[in-house]
């Protein structure tokens, strides 16, 4: 049981695997696929008439099944439904690590959920602040409000762009180049980085097109995302491979960090390493590579 363990705001989240809370067969052991996080879905994957059944199943899975280091997030129903408050209660009572707010459009949406979470933490005797939040942005208005959304709550660990609804609103569809999502992805990345929270890309639903999936994940990584929502366990390995630094990148990052620190000690600001000009501006990037490598078990050095 991890109910009392404090959730970690800045943990590694390369993959978040969606699982329908309507299907106990999916929820009972999905940790075996090794995603960084799972998202038990009470929203679109659950039929309207089964919302209650999904909550009962979710409660017991959260209480009973040991997911180990896999983070357990729950996607709750939208704020325009009769379900979301009871969803929040069951998440907090069950001890979920975080709540994903669907169709988030404004900072007030986040704060409304935050208030319900505070009340539920008091009701169920769960530590105040234990339950984290993330916001899924799915509409043009949400994208335009990305900055206030990212800055809305201390509990908010990140935002995700959700492509399905967004593409519909924009009167477009999926294109392999990603051009239809470029502005939205860029905008929420900028907002997330400005606010210092994580940023996740949308799902890729065509399971027959693994090459297209790989290309999208590479683009996600190049744009600077922290990770991606996935809908099938087969997608996990590819995302981890692309998001985890290579042995060579880790060695380079280690040399850069050492060299910058040693030169700083000697009072040298700018210098050359392997023919490249380096200064202190390269430090955060190299440190981040090492942190990512450490979190993925690829680096056990002392930096």
């Amino acid at each position: 049981m991890s109910a009392e363990k404090r959730s970690e705001k800045n943990r590694l989240r390369r993959t978040m695997l969606f699982l329908s809370a309507q299907r106990p067969s999916l929820m009972k052991d999905a940790y075996v696929f090794g995603p960084d996080s799972v998202i038990f879905d009470l929203e679109d994957a659950v039929a309207e008439s089964e919302k209650d059944a999904a909550r009962f199943s979710l409660y017991h899975i959260l209480r009973r099944v040991d997911y180990g280091n896999v983070e357990r997030i729950v996607r709750i129903n939208g704020l325009d439904t009769p379900h979301w408050r009871e969803d929040v209660r069951v998440c907090v009572a069950g001890g979920a690590d975080g709540i994903r707010i669907a169709k988030c459009e404004t900072a007030d949406d986040v704060r409304a959920v935050e208030r319900a979470v505070c009340e539920a933490e008091a009701e169920f005797g769960v530590g105040q602040g234990r339950t984290l939040l993330m916001a899924a942005i799915e509409s043009p208005r949400g994208v335009l409000n990305a900055v206030p959304i990212c800055e809305s709550s201390e509990r908010l660990f990140g935002v995700a762009i959700s492509g399905g609804d967004f593409r519909k609103c924009m009167q477009t569809k999926y294109y392999p180049s990603g051009v239809e999502m470029l502005v939205a992805r860029g905008q929420i990345l900028l907002a997330a980085r400005a606010a210092g929270v994580q940023c996740f890309d949308t799902v890729f639903t065509d399971l027959d097109d693994m090459e297209g999936f790989r290309a999208e994940v590479v683009q996600n990584k190049e744009m600077g995302f922290d990770g991606k929502s996935v809908v099938n366990p087969r997608q996990i390995g590819i995302v981890h491979e692309i998001f985890t630094p290579t042995a060579r990148e880790i060695r380079e990052a280690e040399r850069v960090v050492r060299a910058i620190r040693e030169n700083a000690d000697k009072g040298v600001g700018i210098f050359q390493l392997d023919g490249k000009m380096l200064d202190v501006a390269f430090l955060p990037g190299a440190e981040r590579t090492l942190a990512l490598a450490k979190a993925s078990g690829m680096y056990e050095g002392d930096l």
Partner: protein, 103 residues
């Protein structure tokens, strides 16, 4: 809790269990079938009866068709069927999580 109407929860998918409850005159009558009856029949019966007792169901006719569900799924399906049979719907509020609904 008093069973007011017939209700069902769960499916016949693998790793799930379907629980039907309906009003009865007196006592709990349990009809159980399971794909793992030989190994787990007694345990499933115990989990169902214990959950009904916790919910305060004194009389009901209960039919359970198990497809290899975990104990926690059996509890969830029994609870859902009972709450539905007492008039709760899919948008039911203020479920006593951690109260009578617990591990």
């Amino acid at each position: 809790m008093e069973i007011l109407n017939a209700a069902v929860a769960g499916t016949l998918e693998s790793s799930d269990v379907q629980v039907s409850v309906e009003p009865a005159e007196k006592g709990v009558a349990l009809d159980l079938s399971s794909s793992v009856m030989e190994q787990y029949g007694r345990q499933i019966r115990a989990v169902v009866l214990e959950t009904l007792e916790r919910l305060g169901v004194a009389s009901a006719r209960v039919r359970v068709v198990d497809k290899g569900a975990l104990d926690c799924t059996i509890r969830a399906r029994v609870e859902c069927a009972v709450f539905r049979a007492c008039g709760a719907d899919a948008a039911a509020k203020n479920i006593p999580w951690g109260g009578v609904v617990r591990e």
